[in-house]
């Protein structure tokens, strides 16, 4: 058996809307696969199919080597599922929740109790074990949910947005649990809206958007694929003129942000206090910029809508706004001195300027479109990865959290991918 989880061309429709439109993904035994995407991208649908909760309208999937449609029962014997909304029985205590599952799985009362005690201890819930789950905090409930899904000691674990809505500390705790489980040799598929989470935990990331795989690779691969450096300038005045110069030099319509410059260090994460806004907020757009750099100077309907939504100024109606930050992707490093020379020639002084690498957020968001329904019908640019590229180019809001140094991906322990599952 090569893959613990394997899906080919998964299609799922709800009405005339395709929740999944041909998704391929694989996870090797002992690997952590993150399925990353905005709300409504199809992540949950994919997990539900793999966990045998819904059947696909097309394509096929195997979990632990068993077809999820043909042999759901075998699949269920192998998996643990942690839902997006903690699916514990709130009226039962922690112990009772765990014992119920043990009994359902055929354990004796004594075995089920022993297992419950062990899991409560491992998930630091012993003291709360005799309280109704309803009284638990969000983090405790999520831990209980995870504990419940591990009663059978499953080798393959699905976690649908395990940390959504948790505070940073509870999230870190949950990450530790996931790492522990992986160290024990389990295969984990987790969905998340948080890039940082995927980067922290995953060996590989599949980016899903609008029911399709927009990108696929290791965190490092994805980061390098998506990133051009961006030049940001804040002219003292003559924003319009500066805008035109940037356009002429780079061949790309600059993105305009009113107010404060987005001088975030590349390591800063807008995800520390995550909200769905952080994901849906258009940012980066470098993939789209590449498209345009290849001669496509005409703006798509997408872009215009995105601009109108974000309040950015469309190039055709500039207006008298004088304070703002212009931002363009830099494809050719030689463009930078050229830009400054031309600005100087035009007598435009800059109050701020920066050349920065794309943040992790932008790197990934460059690979997905904004999830707003009004954009989904508009024609979309297609990238080389088969995905769609957003033309939204507003930088995410500066993080309120101090930019903590993020451990690099390579510093993590290599996963035990060599473990045989056969």
């Amino acid at each position: 058996m090569t893959y613990a989880i394997e899906a080919e061309g998964l299609i799922k429709r709800y009405g005339d809307k395709a929740a999944l439109d041909g998704v391929n993904l694989t996870a090797r035994p002992g690997e952590v696969l993150a399925v990353l995407g905005p709300n409504g991208a199809g992540k949950t649908t994919a997990v539900r199919i793999l966990a045998t909760l819904v059947s696909p309208d097309g394509g096929s999937a195997r979990v632990g080597g068993h077809d999820v449609v043909a042999r759901p029962r075998r699949v269920r014997e192998l998996i643990g599922l942690t839902g997006q909304y903690a699916s514990v029985d709130e009226n039962l205590t922690g112990t009772q929740n765990l014992m119920m599952i043990g009994r359902l799985l055929g354990m004796s009362r004594a075995d089920a109790r022993a297992r419950a005690v062990g899991l409560l201890d491992r998930f630091r819930l012993t003291e709360a074990g005799d309280r109704a789950a309803r009284t638990y905090s969000g983090g405790m409930r999520r831990r209980l949910d995870l504990a419940v899904s591990m009663v059978a000691d499953p080798r393959i674990i699905f976690m649908d947005e395990p940390t959504t809505g948790l505070d940073p500390r509870a999230r870190t705790e949950l990450w530790d649990i996931v790492r522990e489980q992986v160290a024990g040799g389990s295969t984990v598929l987790l969905t998340t809206q948080y890039l940082e989470e995927a980067d922290q935990l995953a060996d590989r990331i599949v980016v899903i958007d609008h029911g399709r795989v927009a990108a696929d690779g290791t965190p490092d691969q994805l980061k390098s694929r998506a990133g051009h450096r961006r030049l940001e300038i804040r002219p003292e005045r003559d924003l319009r003129k500066a805008h035109d110069i940037l356009t002429q030099v780079t061949g790309v319509t600059p993105h305009v942000t009113r107010g404060q410059a987005t001088h975030r260090p590349a390591t800063a994460e807008a995800t520390n206090r995550p909200s769905k806004d952080a994901m849906s907020r258009p940012a980066g757009g470098t993939a789209a910029a590449e498209e345009r750099a290849e001669g496509a100077t005409e703006r798509t309907a997408d872009e215009r809508t995105a601009d109108e939504r974000s309040g950015a100024m469309p190039g055709r109606a500039y207006g008298p706004v004088e304070d703002g930050v212009l931002s363009v992707p830099i494809i050719d490093p030689a463009m930078v001195p050229e830009v400054f020379r031309r600005l100087e020639d035009a007598g435009i002084t800059l109050t701020e300027h920066a050349l920065r690498r794309p943040s992790l957020d932008e790197a990934f968001l460059a690979l997905v479109t904004t999830p707003s329904p009004e954009l989904s019908t508009a024609p979309r640019l297609s990238t080389g990865t088969g995905g769609t590229a957003s033309a939204s180019r507003q930088a995410p809001p500066p993080s309120s959290e101090p930019p903590a140094p993020r451990p690099t991906v390579s510093s993590r322990q290599p996963q035990s991918s060599g473990r045989s599952m056969a």
Binding site: R48, R76, L78, A86, S87, L105, A132
Partner: protein, 263 residues
Amino acid sequence: MTSLASHRARPRSGALIQGLTLAWRSLVPLRNEPGRLVQLLLQPIFMIMLFVCLFGVMTGNQTGTAQFLLPGVLVQVALVATNTTGMNLAEDIGNGVFDRFRSLPIARSAPLIGRILADTLTMLLTVTASLLTGFVVGFRVRTSLAETFAGVTLVLLFTFALSWASAWIGLKARSVASMQGMATAVLLPLTFGSTAFIPATNVPGWLRWWMDVNPVSHLAASLRALLTGGPLGAHLWITLAWAIAIAAVFFPLAVHSYTRRIR
């Protein structure tokens, strides 16, 4: 593959054991939180106190009113209690507990069996509480133990049949609130448009027609006869026929939407 599967305890219990476990799961909150038990019992107690005492005062004949009304109110309370089946199913579906069960290698029917088992037991509790409250407010059983037992069993059978309708609505409903709304729309005309509370004399023709057809009338009349004596007539058989008919329609419907839900 075998080494993989051996990590998981092999289910050796059948659907029934799993159903019992899930019935336990539904009943254990009553023990965890006595407030829930009180809430469960307050409904019949209040309804019976209210109806029997109020009408008793109005008619000036407490005992006679109790003898006539108690079986009717008991039926009404029992029918309303069938709501819980659908409501609990809708709740389990809504909060994801159902999905957890479905992701386990257990019998597909276990959650439904567990639900109905638990609800039948709580129904027994409700009926018992109703009879005891009736005793307090002056109701006396005038028949043999066997007839009393038959009467209680008839109520349980009828509500069991009706709980499949409740389960079907619960499985179809989008939320607990909409389930409640739908159930009330069905139950109100059934209970109040029956001879449970008033005799079918001195009512307009159309209402009389409906009261004669209404299965709840027959159930109430049967229970009245089985608890206080008097002619049972065809009421028992008509009630049983209705129960079978209701189950025959709604059991397949509930199972169908259930299997669609659990696929």
